[in-house]
């Protein structure tokens, strides 16, 4: 039994380390993205005026999520994982970043949240 417990401890440590590393990487990327200006090094990000929108990053090897490639934007958003989706507020600010596949209900929830944020800012303006 002790071999099983040791193995469990080793795998547990590996999983915790991986989760910690991923959390750190993800938070750092988010901080960078949220700190970035909408008109950062990648140039202009469209400001939709009224509606929030989604930036969707993919690549040649990701056939599930094929779409246009925007390498400059991908650099700006620190995209290392494919697919990556970014929900943008109507003001051109990144509100949610999903590294890895984001299911439709999650995107819908985030879009609704982005719409809500837009309405709140309009109400306080």
């Amino acid at each position: 039994m002790s071999a099983q417990l040791w193995a469990l401890a080793v795998v547990g440590a590996i999983v915790l380390a991986a989760a910690g590393l991923e959390t750190f990487r993800s938070r750092r990327a988010r901080r960078r993205v949220f700190a970035a200006s909408p008109t950062g090094p990648a140039g202009h990000l469209p400001m939709n005026g009224e509606e929030p929108y989604i930036l969707y990053f993919t690549g040649d090897s990701c056939t599930v999520c094929r779409t246009h490639q925007e390498p400059a934007l991908a650099r700006q958003f620190h995209v290392y994982t494919l697919p990556t989706t970014v929900v943008m507020g109507a003001d051109g600010n990144a509100l949610h970043i999903n590294y890895g596949y984001a299911p439709a209900p999650k995107l819908e929830r985030q879009l609704a949240d982005a719409r809500g944020a837009g309405l709140r800012s309009a109400a306080t303006a």
Binding site: A7, T63, V64
Partner: protein, 148 residues
């Protein structure tokens, strides 16, 4: 260059992952009271490696296609996808289990830890849809180290 997508039945992949998790768990927990159950690890490695190179020999996928799907136990979920990354991930799992099998007798902790790691990664794929093996495949492909 992109490879044209095919239809991949993701239910078959899920059944495969469930089979891997169940087998490893039975071997892992069962071997604490009945050590010969460890033989399931090399058997699983063989099943995964065979299934990687000859899909008709993929044990859990065949269970799905021949038994579970026709009887309506598991509903098919065809998705436009590439089978290569999933095959690669399965092969990688097989290799890890083969290495684990070598260590099971002289260094059981290493062998069991590697086996459990495969089960954990299969669980992550099953529960969250994140396929680490597929990510490795994409990275290798991007660097031109592997070709589909």
């Amino acid at each position: 260059m992109s490879t044209p997508a095919q239809l991949v039945d993701h239910s078959a992949l899920k059944v495969n992952q469930t089979g891997i998790i169940a087998t490893v768990l039975v071997a892992f927990i069962g071997s604490a009271v009945f050590r010969p159950l460890l033989v399931l690890i090399p058997l699983l490695a063989i099943a995964l490696l065979l299934g990687t190179f000859a899909p008709q020999l993929a044990l859990f996928k065949q269970l799905y296609f021949k038994v579970l799907k026709p009887r309506g136990v598991v509903k098919p979920r065809p998705v436009q996808d590439r089978p290569e990354p999933h095959n690669f991930a399965q092969g990688l799992g097989g290799v890890f289990l083969a290495v684990a099998s070598i260590f099971l007798i002289p260094l059981p902790v290493v062998g069991l830890a590697l086996s459990l790691l495969v089960a954990v990664l299969a669980f992550v794929n099953l529960a969250f849809g994140y396929c680490v093996g597929c990510q490795i495949f994409f990275q290798l492909e991007r660097r031109g180290l592997i070709r589909a």
